[in-house]
Every structure is written in C-alpha cells, then in structure tokens.
C-alpha cells in the first residue's frame, strides 16, 4: 500500500522540473530526458528479470513437491517431469494405510499441540501486555525491561534443564512441556503492548469502570476485541512456529503414536529413503508443507499488513 502511495510526490516533482527547464535549452533537455527514460526502461527490465528469477527459485521446490506427490515411485525414479501424474489418491492411501507411519495420528497431534500453543500464547500475552499497558504499579518498568531482556535468549539453551526437570516429575513423553511454556512468550507480549499503546484509549477502561465492570471482565469484553487484529497475526505466527518445531519435541516425545509431523519426517529420513516408496514420501512432505502455505496465501495480505500494523496506527 505504502509503496504504491510513495511514487506520486517524486514523479510530480520530476514532471515539474522537466516543464521548468524545457524553456531555455529545449533540445538538449529533450535528449537528456529521452536518455534517462531509456535507462529507466532498461533498469525496469533488469529488475523484473531478477524478480521473476527469485519467484521461480521460491516456487520451484514446491512445484516439484506437488508434481511428485501425484506420481508413482517408479515414475519418480525414472526421472523428473513437469507434468502431473495420476497417482495422487494412490500415494495418499498408501501413506495413510502404512501402519509404520502413524500419519493421521501425527496430523492430529501436531494440530492439537499447535492450536493449544497458539491459544495460550495469544491469550496470556494479551493479558500480560494489558497489565503493563493499563496499570501503574511499582517495578512496572523494571519488569518490562526484564521481559525485553529475556526476549533475545533462545529457549533452546534451557532445554537441557527443562528436560531433566520433566524427567523428575514424570512429564517426559507428554505434551505438557511442549504446550505450557507458551504462556510465557516475551516476544508476543512485546508486540501486544506496542499495539495496545498505539490503539487503546485509556478512557474506555475508565468508562467501563464507572459502569461497574470488574477488571477481568473489562479485559475480556473490551480489551480482547480491540486486540483482535494483533491477536490474529500472533495466532498465525505462534501456530506456525509450533507446527514446525523440531528440536525440543524430538527430545521430549518418545512413543510413536505421540509423534508430531516433524518427528515423523526425521524418523523416516533416518532410515534410507531410497528403499522407500518415494511417492509416499513426497506425499508426506506435501501434507506437512502445503496446507500451511495455502493458509498463508489466503491470509497473506492480512499477515503482511499485520506485521506493520502497529506503525500504521501509531
């Protein structure tokens, strides 16, 4: 949006400039203008070539992925082709019927963990951000600085301690250590607070208090609806992060029917993929990647807008 709006002032100035200067030495300026125009067109062509190349580079792997999940193992091993095959349903069935790969189960597990994580992250980050935004309590600035500080520390460095802690309290091979930490997500808190600071009028809360609403019901009835756009964006981001998470789940989860999709992929790949039905493997990766991409393409305007949401409103 902004990139579309920006060109106007500059181009208007350019036109004005050309009009002003055209009077004294018309021919010379004309030639110069034509020269710059040609240079601009050449530049434009170059830019488009690079952009198209990058677009192909980004799309090509996914194209191969989708093509190969519609072809049989034999066809794939014969070599690559750009055309779709007609083994989609065959690959689909053979993947879901394979008793060694609990695919349907893994999908459900991943979905469950990602949904729980995203809901917890969004709800409790909003709550925390609202506390920092609304209330003037002692140590507020110190605590918020603390949140900023821990934002940069990767959770992976504490994973060893968390793992042994889980072993101690019998939480290994359960989803608790994967889901509950989502309550404390400093990055989301920071984002939510930025958003609240820029859009939330203090008078609203005052008015609700006069009407006799309790503090928690103010949060649920007034603040959460205001936060909806920011919550949607953060919901998507934390869902995706959890869906894709590999490092910690790989350490926590042991039993086969509790595995998430990244773990299934890792397990599959540890055995030699060349002995496998490649159509099935491509189908597995398609299921891991494509639904999310599809969701992204549907919501991309919303997502990219949402990333810069705070600055637009502020």
């Amino acid at each position: 949006m902004t990139s579309m709006a920006q060109p106007l002032p500059n181009s208007m100035i350019e036109e004005k400039l050309q009009n002003n200067e055209q009077q004294p030495m018309k021919i010379d300026i004309d030639r110069k203008a034509r020269k710059t125009k040609v240079a601009l067109i050449v530049r434009k062509i170059l830019v488009y070539i690079v952009l198209i190349f990058l677009t192909i580079l980004c799309i090509f792997p996914f194209y191969i992925l989708i093509v190969n999940c519609t072809r049989s193992n034999f066809e794939i091993q014969q070599g690559f082709s750009f055309t779709f095959g007609n083994f989609f349903t065959y690959n689909w069935n053979s993947l879901f019927d394979d008793t060694n790969i609990p695919m349907a189960r893994a999908l459900l597990n991943s979905l469950f963990i990602s949904l729980c994580t995203a809901v917890l992250t969004v709800y409790f980050s909003s709550l925390t951000a609202y506390a920092f935004h609304q209330y003037r309590f002692k140590g507020r600035n110190a605590l918020f600085t603390f949140v900023l500080l821990i934002m940069m520390v990767p959770t992976t460095v504490s994973s060893l301690g968390l793992l042994t802690l889980c072993a101690k309290y019998d939480l290994l091979d359960t989803y608790y250590p994967l889901i509950i930490p989502a309550v404390a997500s400093p990055i989301t808190v920071f984002y939510m607070r930025q958003y609240l600071d820029s859009v939330m009028p203090k008078e609203l809360v005052e008015a609700a208090r006069v009407d006799g609403s309790g503090e928690l019901s103010i949060f649920h009835r007034i603040v959460l609806p205001i936060l909806k756009p920011a919550m949607a964006v953060q919901f998507i981001f934390s869902f995706v992060a959890s869906w894709n998470n590999y490092f910690f789940p790989a350490l926590v989860i042991q039993s086969t029917n509790k595995k998430t999709i990244p773990l299934i992929i890792a397990g599959l790949q540890a055995s030699d993929p060349t002995t496998f039905d490649l159509g099935k493997v491509y189908m597995l990766m398609t299921i891991a990647i494509i639904p999310l991409l599809f969701m992204y393409l549907l919501l991309s305007k919303f997502i990219i807008k949402g990333v810069t949401l705070g600055s637009v409103k502020g």
Partner: protein, 329 residues
Amino acid sequence: MDKRMKINTRKKKMSYAKWGYILLIPFFVVFIIFQFIPLMQTFGYSFYEYYSIGLTEIGPNFVGFSNYVKIFQGSILKYAGNTVILWILCIIPQMTISLLLAVWFTDARLRLRGTGFFKTVIYMPNLVMAAAFGMLFQMLFASNGPIVDMMMKWGWIQESFNIGQSVWGTRAVIALMNFLMWFGNTTILLMAGVMGIDSSVYEAATIDGSGPFKTFFHITMPLLMPIFIYVVITSLIGGVQLFDVAQIFTKGSGAVDGSSKTLMMYLYKLIGTSRNYGEAGAVSVVLFVLTAFLSFLVFAFTHRNENKLSRKQRKLVAEYKLKGGKQDD
C-alpha cells in the same frame, strides 16, 4: 524523579495497581518454572560430571570447569566455525538480494507492478516447516533426484553425483535453504527501513541529478546503516541456532567428517544421543553467552544510534525486534 512525582499525583488511581501484579502472575510463574529454573539447572549441570552409558547413570559429581575444558579440547570450536561458515555463506547473498529488492520495491521512479505478489511469494518459504524443507532438498539433490536428472538432461553435467559427499556442496545447499527461508523476511524489514527515510532527501537528490547508484551509496545506505547492522546481528543470533535444516539434510551426521555440523546439532547429540548432560550443559552455557553477547550488541547499537534514526525508523526497529527474535527455527 519525574516519574515519582507522576505516581504521587495518581495516588487515587493506585487502588487498581494490585491488578497489574495479578495479571502478571501467569506469565512470570510459567517463565520461572519452565525457563528460569531449567536455565539455572543447565548452568549447574555444566559443572558436574553427569552422563549415562546404557542404563547406568554416572554422577552427578562436581568437577568444576572440566566439562568446559573437555568441550574446548574437543570439537566445539570446529562446530562453531562450521556454524559461522554456513551463516556467512547465507548472509552475503541474503543481504545483497534483500537490499536490492528493498530499494527496488520502494523506488519511486521504477514504479514496479505486482510488488504485493512478489512480497507474498518471497516471504512464503519462511513459513515452511524447516524439517520438511530439509528433507525436500535432500531428495531434490539426491544422486537420482530431479536436480541432478535435469542437469544431465540439459547437458550441464555428464554423470550423476552425490552432493552429500562434497563438503562445500553440502554447505552451499544448506546455505541456499536458509537463504530461501529468510531473504523475504529480511527484504520486508529493510524495506520498512528504506520507507522510513525522509522522502524529501530523495527529492533533493533527484533535483541535484543523482542517479540510482549515487543515490544508493550516498543516501540510502548511510541512512539505512543502523537498521542494516541491526538486521545482520539479529540474523547472526538466528544463525548461531541453526539446526533443523542442517540436521535433516545431513541426517544428523553433519555430512562429510562433520563439516556441516552446527553448534545446535552438537548440543542435540550430547543431550539426545550420548546423554552427556555435563558437557551438554557446558555447550548450552557457551550458546547462552554467545547469544547474550550478540543481543547486548544489538541493544547497545540501537541505543547508540537512536538519534541517528528517524522517528519512523525507530518505531520500525521496535516493531521488527519481533521478527528478528523469531529467527530461531
């Protein structure tokens, strides 16, 4: 001083202050249980001999710094070197392309069409499951995979090859995957930085007859420098944690003689496979110190350059601290 006065004048509203603490309870309780205590425990383990062989557990016995001595005499420096090499291989093309795209997308004279489409496409790989992406590339580049097949068909190479057996081939593919996953993100970040530059500066430059190259090197780059460096450092923080892609692509082996094994892969092996909690603790501490130092650089840097940034840019840096922090998958 000022703040204290403000609080005093608001004393009547202070009755609500306790709600601030109440609403913060879930966050801090979970943080302390699931991050702080584990972190301290990790630090603690680094000073203990604590590992298992089979089912027998040895330790924990206090051994002082001997875990650190062991990992530094071992291969941690090599893996750190690998991590840095992979990061450099990725960051150079990433920053170059992202800068170019950011400048082009915001260039008033180019007036590109379909920027929305291009932005959507280049950001897309960022959302892909890194594990699946790693496996996809492993299959694409397999000796009987589509890439080799196509190159043979087009006569670029005579016989099939296995990229997993080449040190620099493996590194290059891992860097390529990382590049694909992150350059869109970096572009949007830098673009926001460029748009934050006061447009009157560009108008003045156009009036003075400055061409695209001159404008870039004398105006865009100097004014973008703070954000540029910020992006590089946050990307380094992400780069230190490189794991999924490399782990899956090399099947956890780190390819030829561990030449593509990263610090995180080393940590994963120490925790998961060898169950050497003492040394794993020491590696975690090294990772912590490294990221803390880099984060400190970011903060110090953005703070020092605060007055060099325009108001708009400052806001954007704050915005995008989120995106930078996300670079850990």
